[in-house]
């Protein structure tokens, strides 16, 4: 980094801090829209587009970036407290976040999530800033063949989840994959499994499936209890000690935060990949190389850290192809592109030559937002966790109402509300009969993406299946994938043997 770049960075940093009066309210707005299912940074920026366009370039930029970061973090709050992931990117958060809340550790879980998100986001922003030219190259190597293997990392979670009851787990996973294949195919746009229902032509919408499987079915379950927190849960009186405990637990696992946030960053820089892939892959990786994989899914802090660090890592990752190549990495980045172009900003290789303050300013806005977010949100965890103590006779109807509205919002179809209810019933039956809803959901979310990359690969190779092993990087990933499946089994057997030796 030369001296002129360093001076620009310092200058932009102080300029960005001067926009605290925009950042703080935007963080609160982001937390709210992120927490409401169906809303996201992307559709909020669209709704507020007239305001964004009316602001000067720097203010608009700070507003959009702060909203993007805080909405990402906000989506984790209801995922932890009431099992409602607001976006697909937070779909892996409740796997361990919600069990913690049920154990009366909601406040701790929130603190862990906030620390993981902020540190993960801040760290990856710095890494992205420092290594932008290198990171921008990732997309040049990660093509459809390589992405198939990345998808399989995430989908293999089904097998992990199925470990307790392999048959039921696999049935749930395949059901999810089948549901995910509904819609028009990516090559010839031929409708499949839509039963002529127009609303299914674009596939099963994610948010209704997400809120239905997780939240609505959970509402049906918790209505049978008095409060979310288990009877044998820890005392529920919120105190600052729990927040500090959460911070301590998260900081103690700083290596985990760094590792999983970098997974998010790398996946984030691939155009078209997103937070949902990153969070599942990070969770799968975290579980595969954990010394205590059996604790995942029961309220294990590392199972919460992984998806939250990763999905915030994606946030900074999506900016890289946008700024360096002019290719938006995700939906929110695409909206930012529109707004910035309105202000006369040209993205692409020339951006850092012609308007370096804009390029660096976006990363700096992100870094400052994460720092301010950490300071402003952490204290709120004490109050937010009260949600878990609300009697379910009030909470369950509120969850159902909120989630149905959330199901409706993205596309504004009544059909999506009915779909959320149908998924809720499916999820309830699955829970009551011992099928894991997360396994269904992984299939629904990652199945269509896997199919897209698979069909592209086959189309490129004229149907030759060996295309899957045609690239060096792809083959390295295949080996890594095989190892990530085999090694945990080997480690598990070794641990078991160690445990058995003293017994003899």
């Amino acid at each position: 980094m030369d001296s002129s770049t360093a001076s620009i960075l310092v200058e932009v940093f102080f300029e960005t801090i001067g926009y605290w009066y925009i950042i703080v309210p935007t963080i609160l707005l982001g937390l709210i829209v992120g927490g409401i299912p169906g809303f996201s940074a992307a559709n909020t920026i669209i709704i507020l587009m007239p305001l964004t366009l009316a602001l000067d370039l720097q203010s608009g930029l700070v507003f959009m970036i702060s909203l993007y970061c805080s909405a990402r973090m906000g989506a984790g709050i209801p995922a932890i407290l009431v099992n409602i992931p607001g976006t697909a990117g937070a779909a892996a958060t409740p796997l361990d976040g919600y069990p913690m809340a049920k154990q009366g550790k909601g406040q701790q879980a929130l603190a862990i999530s906030f620390v993981a998100s902020c540190i993960g986001g801040l760290l990856t922003t710095i890494i992205a800033l420092a290594t932008m030219p290198i990171l921008a190259r990732v997309g040049f190597y990660m093509h459809s063949v390589e992405m198939i293997v990345v998808m399989l990392f995430g989908i293999s979670l089904i097998a992990s989840i199925a470990a307790q009851d392999m048959v039921k787990g696999l049935i749930a996973g395949f059901l999810g994959l089948m549901i995910g294949s509904i819609g028009t195919d990516v090559v010839y746009a031929t409708p499949r499994g839509t039963f002529g229902i127009l609303e299914l032509y674009d596939g099963v919408p994610l948010i209704p499936a997400l809120v239905g499987l997780f939240a609505v079915s959970e509402a049906f379950v918790i209505i049978e209890k008095r409060v979310i927190v288990n009877h044998d849960g820890e005392p529920k009186t919120p105190n600052w000690g729990d927040t500090f405990d959460g911070v301590r637990i998260a900081l103690k696992r700083w290596v985990h935060i760094v590792w999983t946030s970098i997974i998010g960053l790398v996946i984030g820089v691939i155009p078209g990949a997103g937070a949902s892939i990153a969070s599942f892959v990070a969770y799968q990786q975290s579980r595969s190389f954990s010394k205590t994989p059996e604790l995942y899914g029961t309220g294990h802090p590392e199972g919460l850290i992984a998806p939250e660090s990763a999905n915030n890592g994606v946030t900074s990752g999506t900016l890289v192809p946008l700024l360096v190549l002019g290719i938006p990495g995700g939906a929110t980045a695409a909206i930012m592109l529109v707004v910035m172009q309105f202000h006369g900003v040209s993205f692409g290789p020339s951006l850092f030559e012609n308007q370096p303050k804009v390029g660096y300013g976006m990363f700096m806005a992100m870094a400052v937002s994460y720092v301010i977010m950490f300071l402003t949100i952490l204290p709120l965890s004490r109050y937010m966790s009260h949600v878990t103590t609300i009697p379910t006779i009030y909470l369950a109807p509120m969850i159902i109402a909120f989630t149905l509205v959330g199901g409706f919002v993205p596309r504004e179809y009544m059909f999506d509300m009915y779909l959320a209810l149908a998924f809720g019933v499916l999820g309830y039956i699955a829970r009551r009969t011992g099928y894991h809803v997360a396994a269904i959901l992984i299939g629904v979310i990652l199945g269509p993406l896997l199919e897209k990359y698979f069909l592209w690969s086959l189309k490129k190779s004229d149907g030759d299946i060996m295309v899957l092993f045609s690239s060096t990087l792809g083959n390295i990933l295949w080996v890594a994938f095989a190892l990530s499946i085999i090694l945990p089994i080997v480690f598990g057997m070794r641990r078991k043997r160690k445990f058995e030796v003293p017994a003899e």
Binding site: G139, V187, A189, Y201, I327, Q341
Partner: protein, 333 residues
């Protein structure tokens, strides 16, 4: 002086009929006078952040001043634009408060591939915002930097070519080029303009074909080599030649043309409203602010071209005919 007036039966009936007609017409007149009394919803059959989004925002920012109301876009991507049209035709009220903003090129071509559930004559385009030819381009770092490179490579292997969707004028342009050169290109639908540009830039495909407006917006990440029509923007498309000039062909221009459409029923039932829409649409083109907004959104001034109902109808018809001709190649049938 006093005047004695008598009302005979004919006067009574005539006055009554006039009064009744006036009474019946009043709501319509009031409606016509008050139209629009709320925002106009615009169905966009592609995702936000794309070329249609940019053009829509540029045009509506000026049109709204003429019409006196705002426009609310709703994005309904999926199934090559089919979802947006099906939703518009199936769910939107035909009352002139609901319009569709589509691309007359690829989206009409789609009807030739798979018939929609509605009659394609039940909607029509009444105002074209812009028109740009499709083009062939490579990523800035692609090893194929000239058409000669592409032709040489195509003779040794089947090149993978990114396209927004199979049924797209750019795909037809490429297939025609392949026919002329005696080489076979493999079309890979990369689901939208952003994906198509990304595919060429990152090397997912050997090169891509797309509407030139989106290629120009991608800046110096890409290099245009051939235009499936006339290159009226010169440098902006790297001075790429027209396919007809370069290869002595007689291909009609492969165009993308974004236009506002409306239900036929809405235009029939509410002629006053429709008249207001079309007249203000036309006025918008006379306002210099439109060009400023269009250029601000990275549009090429040369592409901003008005076309009315007749020209749009002719364009729609030509796309349907073109689609029928290339159907077997674009559907894998």
């Amino acid at each position: 002086m006093s005047m004695k007036q008598t009302i005979n039966r004919r006067t009574l009936l005539g006055t009554g009929a006039a009064a009744a007609a006036l009474t019946l017409a009043t709501p319509a007149l009031v409606r016509a006078n008050t139209f629009p009394d709320r925002n106009i919803s615009v169905y966009v059959p592609t995702s936000e952040g794309g070329g249609a989004d940019r053009n829509f925002r540029a045009f509506s920012s000026v049109w709204k001043e003429k019409l006196g109301t705002d426009f609310e876009p709703g994005f309904y991507p999926g199934a090559s634009g089919r979802v947006g049209y099906e939703i518009y035709m199936g769910k939107a009220e035909p009352d002139c408060y609901n319009l569709i903003f589509g691309n007359m090129g690829p989206e009409v071509l789609n009807w030739a591939m798979q018939e929609p559930s509605f009659d394609v004559n039940d909607y029509f385009y009444f105002g074209q915002v812009d028109k740009d030819p499709c083009c062939l381009f490579v990523g800035a770092e692609s090893p194929l930097q000239t058409m000669d490179d592409i032709i040489a490579a195509a003779k040794t292997r089947r090149l993978n070519v990114g396209t927004s969707r199979m049924a797209h004028p750019a795909s037809i342009g490429l297939l025609a080029l392949g026919d002329k050169l005696g080489v076979d290109f493999n079309l890979i639908p990369l689901q939208g303009g952003k994906g198509t540009v990304a595919g060429a830039v990152t090397g997912e495909v050997d090169f891509s074909v797309l509407t030139s407006g989106s290629v120009i917006a991608a800046g110096d990440s890409v290099k245009t080599l051939l235009v499936f029509g006339d290159n009226i923007v010169g440098e902006a498309l790297d001075n790429a030649p027209s396919i007809n000039d370069a290869y002595d062909m007689d291909l009609p221009e492969m165009l993308s043309a974004r236009a506002f459409g409306i239900h036929q029923k809405a235009a029939d039932d509410f002629p006053d409203r429709f008249e207001l829409l079309t007249s203000t649409f036309r006025e918008t083109f006379d306002d210099p602010k439109l060009m400023e907004a269009y250029v601000a959104q990275k549009g090429q001034p040369e592409y901003l071209q008005y076309a009315g109902i007749e020209e749009c109808a002719a364009f729609k018809q030509s796309m349907l005919e073109l689609g029928a001709r290339y159907k077997s190649l674009l559907t894998g049938a």
